[in-house]
């Protein structure tokens, strides 16, 4: 019991502390690839701390939903993170929910984020909310189908069970099912975290923005919670991807040696995935809004193919 509690606290701390680092790395590398010096990788921590200390301005038109949303976004991201196995193959909260609860909680956070975008009554916020809800709706079937495909091969929607199953001998990355499901989920990851072919995380005040448009009226500690929540969500989705599809080295027992190896490998896997995201972001232009559904339906088709291939190859 105590060990479980320790694992819970550790994973919470890891989520809180690692998330800004991953965002920082991506920002920094992206700048390097574009021949800029870019912000230091620690810059995101400094930003969050700065926001936390600043005074807040709240819109006079906003209601209580506006002040409630940052907490929902922050807490749901953390909760989701606790349901995904990070260093150990048993996630601390895996009994409380698996893949379905992960999708549900992410949707809950998004629901309140979108409401908060509408609340101050500015046109930007409404635009962001509308687009966010539309694109996430289109992304959802692809996400569900690829997670389902993985769950079918593992026989469970519980993420810990899935990771444990993927550590078994039957799991190979070159298996077409897994490769296709990975590709589908990677596209969904880009969409869900607002990365470049879908949304541009580096822009403010542009008519193309989605996520940032909803945050436009936020300041001070609410903004800190929103930004931090978003980066935790990004970390969680990346963790989901690397740990489900590249599950080697995840500690199955709580010994310090196993945990150390696991942490090291986890860090390397995250860096590799971040590098992939950076490459995609620098080599692609942002898609026009109404071209994004094409991309997401491609993800859906990939997920369907993954599903069909379970049928053909097993």
């Amino acid at each position: 019991m105590n060990l479980d509690l320790l694992a819970l606290v550790l994973q919470t701390a890891l989520l809180l502390l690692l998330a800004p680092l991953v965002s920082g790395c991506i920002k920094n590398w992206k700048a390097k690839l574009q021949n800029r010096r870019g912000p230091r990788i620690w810059q995101v921590y400094a930003d969050v701390l700065k926001f936390l200390r600043k005074d807040m301005v709240i819109s006079e038109h906003a209601s209580w939903v506006f002040s409630f949303a940052p907490y929902v976004v922050f807490i749901t991201s953390l909760l989701v993170g606790l349901m995904v196995p990070m260093l150990t193959s048993q996630a601390p909260l895996s009994l409380f929910g698996g893949a379905l609860a992960v999708i549900g909680l992410l949707a809950l956070g998004r629901f309140f984020l979108a409401l908060a975008g509408l609340d101050p009554g500015s046109a930007f916020g409404g635009m962001g909310s509308s687009r966010e809800m539309t694109l996430s709706a289109i992304a959802e079937p692809a996400m569900m189908l690829s997670i389902f495909t993985v769950a079918i091969t593992a026989g469970s929607t519980d993420l810990s069970q899935i990771v444990q199953a993927t550590q078994g001998p039957a799991w190979r990355l070159l298996n077409p099912t897994h490769a296709l499901a990975f590709a589908a989920l990677f596209i969904v990851l880009l969409a869900e975290t607002g990365r470049i072919p879908v949304d541009n995380p580096a822009t403010h005040l542009e008519l193309t923005m989605i996520h940032e448009a909803m945050l436009l009226e936020y300041s001070g500690r609410y903004l800190a919670f929103m930004e931090w929540g978003a980066s935790i969500k990004q970390l969680v989705l990346m963790t989901l991807l690397v740990n489900v599809f590249f599950s080697f080295g995840i500690a199955s027992e709580l010994t310090s040696a196993a945990l150390g190896v696991s942490l090291l490998l986890y860090g390397l896997k995250l860096l590799a995935l971040s590098a992939a995201v950076v490459l995609v972001e620098t080599t692609n232009a942002k898609l026009r809004l109404f071209r994004v559904p094409d991309l997401l339906s491609a993800a859906f088709v990939l997920a369907t193919l993954a599903l069909l291939s379970t049928f053909l190859f097993q």
């Binding site: 919470t12 701390l49 936390l52 200390r53 005074d55 807040m56 301005v57 709240i58 819109s59 006079e60 038109h61 209601s63 939903v65 907490y71 807490i75 909760l79 009994l95 409380f96 929910g97 698996g98 379905l100 609860a101 549900g104 909680l105 949707a107 809950l108 629901f111 979108a114 409401l115 509408l118 609340d119 009554g121 500015s122 916020g125 409404g126 809800m133 539309t134 996430s136 709706a137 289109i138 959802e140 079937p141 996400m143 189908l145 769950a151 079918i152 026989g155 469970s156 929607t157 069970q161 436009l216 009226e217 001070g220 500690r221 800190a224 109404f290 559904p293 859906f300 369907t304 599903l307």
Partner: protein, 682 residues
């Protein structure tokens, strides 16, 4: 039947009768009519809740015998009711909603003082509750059909209550026609069952299907599917639903969306799982397909609405689809011989039935309160109500979260069960058919996400930002009883969301009756804290655990606040308006604008029409006035119903020649018919 439930049930039925009579008695005394009709209905419904819950909780429902309400003088017809588990479960739904809605109506009906007759409204309201309860409890096909008809007719009267408007009258007629097409199919279906059993008693229909020839059995299945499908509002038989639900008074809309369409679900559960025996595969496939299509199309059309009540009506179609996905999967599992999975899928459907009843009624009550305060159903004229109607906004938000299937509320739990059934269904059969399960699960995911988008729109445009009209600016909070009704349903949403394993115990007798298995013990882990699939390896979820964990995590943001931001101050300021002098409601996103991306992405389905007229002096970029009109019409209206309508009219015009008005001709018709019949009899 144990004495307590029998007495309470009788009292409840009597209460509705008395309430209806009181309404007619106090036609001229609005206040007494209001008090006695809706007060009577609340009491009767309260008795009904207890009468239905006790046998389900104690498990005595299975042994309940039928009781005769009154002596019948006609052969084959018996006015018998039986509080069996399935009937008791649906009886619980109607009574629970009846209670909340009657309380709400005590306040809501005051809006009709001096305009409309509250006595008539109350009388029909009571009659509708009575007829619906009898539909769920009737133990004889004839009695069932009689109750079914009374229900349809009272519902028609209630839909047409505000008949001064043409829209209302048209909707009433449409409801009437569609409803009777359904009833026609039901009569034929029951006649088929009668042929096989020789009696109209429901007890003789039990697993009758296995003894029927397969042609008749399939015909019965199709007839019941259409007959009950019309009432439930499955696509493409749904067209009456978005027309009729919004025009009725809001308490009636809630009753119709919450309970009335569930009579169709009840009928399907009764007939498919109790009467028709082991199903062939295509039944399940059909029901699952219809469910999936209804769910997706229902939510897509809901997104196009900016009439708050029509939007909610379309969501009823969506949720009926989700319920039928559970039922369809259950039928498929019964075919392949997996009773355990079938029970779980059935539970998913039934759980979603009560969930939808609760949150949809809650949302309609919220919409009613908004309508009461702003005198419009058009969302584009609302806004800013969260500050003016705090409690209504809160209750509506809870309903919106629940219907969008977001954790930790009840919609999430039943959809989780549906997902689990669909996922585990993949292993039940080696044939290609099994691909249907994950694909419909993906469509369910699409439905859920679109529903969330729709309710961001519904809540955001209605309650947030600045008011868009004078009416919305002067909106006021609803009265106490109206809030009480909403609070009751909100509590039910939270309870059903956080304590699913407690509630599932009530479903034990129902699944035992329909599939022979009890699942509640298997579906709950860790003393009921955690809900599990039938295969506990398959996945677990605990909404209560997640909520508690969320509370445990709250110290993180608050600690950060105390630690880092103690000295920071909070100012209230205007929203940034791009440097313009002030933010006006015209700058806000509209409901139509909000759903525009979805309208564009699915334009092949919606075929949106828009009309823009600009008046300008020298350049089209500087218009003096712009008139914009955008219109989405349902593809079923244009492609199916309108041509059908024209065909019927053309045929009737031809038939008119027969009815020339000459008596001699009519006599000849009668004579020829008689002759033909005699020849036929020989």
């Amino acid at each position: 039947m144990d004495i307590l439930s029998a007495t309470l049930l009788n009292l409840s039925l009597l209460g509705y009768v008395v309430g209806a009579a009181a309404g007619l008695l106090f036609l001229r005394h609005e206040k007494s009519a209001n008090l006695f009709t809706f007060g009577g209905a609340s009491l009767a419904a309260l008795f009904g809740v207890i009468a239905c819950t006790v046998p389900l909780a104690t498990g005595t429902a299975a042994t309940n015998q039928s009781i005769e309400l009154f002596q019948s003088l006609i052969p084959y017809v018996q006015f018998t009711v039986r509080l069996d588990p399935l009937g008791a479960f649906f009886g619980l739904i109607v009574s629970l909603l009846g209670l909340a809605l009657s309380l709400y109506s005590l306040g809501y009906a005051r809006g009709f003082y001096g305009r409309k007759s509250v006595g008539v409204l109350g009388a029909f309201f009571n009659l509708l509750l009575l007829a619906t309860t009898l539909v769920f409890l009737a133990d004889n096909a004839f009695f069932f059909l009689i109750a079914w008809e009374i229900m349809a007719l009272t519902a028609y009267c209630l839909v047409s209550f505000e008949h001064e408007q043409e829209e209302t009258r048209n909707a009433g007629v449409l409801f009437f026609v569609m409803s009777h097409i359904g009833t026609g199919c039901l009569i034929l279906g029951f006649l088929l069952l009668f042929r096989a059993s020789g009696s109209y008693g429901f007890d003789t229909f039990h697993v009758l299907g296995d003894k029927m020839p397969s042609g008749q059995r399939n015909a019965a299945f199709l007839l019941f599917l259409v007959g009950f499908g019309v009432k439930a509002g499955i696509v493409p038989l749904h067209i009456w639903l978005p027309a009729a639900h919004p025009v009725a008074p809001s308490n009636v809309s809630a009753l119709m969306s919450g309970v009335l369409i569930k009579t169709g679900i009840y009928g399907m559960a009764r007939v498919f799982f109790d009467f028709l025996g082991t199903p062939p595969n295509w039944w399940g496939v059909t029901v699952l397909t219809i469910g999936t299509i209804s769910a997706v199309l229902g939510v897509l059309y809901a997104l196009m609405e900016h009439d708050l009540k029509r939007l909610l009506a379309y969501h009823s179609i969506e949720n009926i689809g989700i319920i039928l996905m559970g039922f369809g999967a259950a039928l498929m599992f019964l075919h392949t011989g997996h009773p355990l999975l079938a029970s779980m899928a059935l539970i998913a459907g039934l759980y979603h039935t009560i969930n939808h009843a609760v949150f949809k009624a809650l949302l309609f009550l919220g919409a009613g309160a908004v309508l009461h305060a702003t005198h419009t159903r058009n969302m584009e004229e609302m806004g800013g109500l969260a500050k003016r109607m705090r409690w209504t906004a809160f209750f509506f938000l809870v309903g919106a979260v629940a219907i969008s299937a977001l954790p930790p509320l009840n919609g999430f739990v039943s959809e989780w069960l549906t997902y689990q059934s669909l996922l585990q269904g993949f292993g039940t059969t080696p044939s290609l058919i099994r691909l249907m399960f994950p694909l419909s699960a993906a469509m369910l995911a699409l439905t859920g996400a679109l529903a969330a988008a729709c309710f961001v729109k519904a809540f955001g445009i209605t309650f947030l930002a600045q008011p868009r009209s004078e009416h919305a600016r002067h909106a006021h909070e609803a009265s106490f009883t109206m809030l009480l009704g909403q609070a009751l349903l909100t509590t039910a949403c939270v309870f059903l969301g956080l304590f699913p394993t407690v509630f599932l115990k009530l479903l034990d007798p129902v699944t035992q009756q329909l599939t022979g298995l009890k699942l509640s013990a298997q579906l709950s882990l860790a003393n009921g804290l955690v809900l599990a699939g039938v295969d506990s390896q398959g996945g677990t979820v605990s909404t209560l655990g997640l909520t508690l964990m969320a509370v445990c995590l709250l110290p993180v943001p608050f600690g950060l606040w105390l630690f880092c931001a103690r000295k920071s101050k909070t100012r209230i300021g205007p929203t940034w308006a791009c440097g313009q002098p002030g933010l006006t409601p015209q700058m806000e996103y509209t409901a139509t604008g909000f759903s525009k991306p979805i309208r564009m992405i699915f334009k092949a389905l919606f075929r949106p029409r828009r009309d823009v007229q600009r008046d300008y002096d020298f350049s089209p970029y500087f218009a003096r006035t712009i008139r914009f009109e955008s219109h989405v019409e349902e593809v079923f209206q244009t492609r199916i119903y309108r041509p059908l309508n024209r065909l019927v009219l053309r045929l009737s015009r031809r038939m008119r020649a027969l009815q020339a008005g000459s008596l001699q001709a009519y006599l000849i018709y009668i004579f020829v018919t008689l002759l033909l019949l005699l020849l036929f009899a020989l």
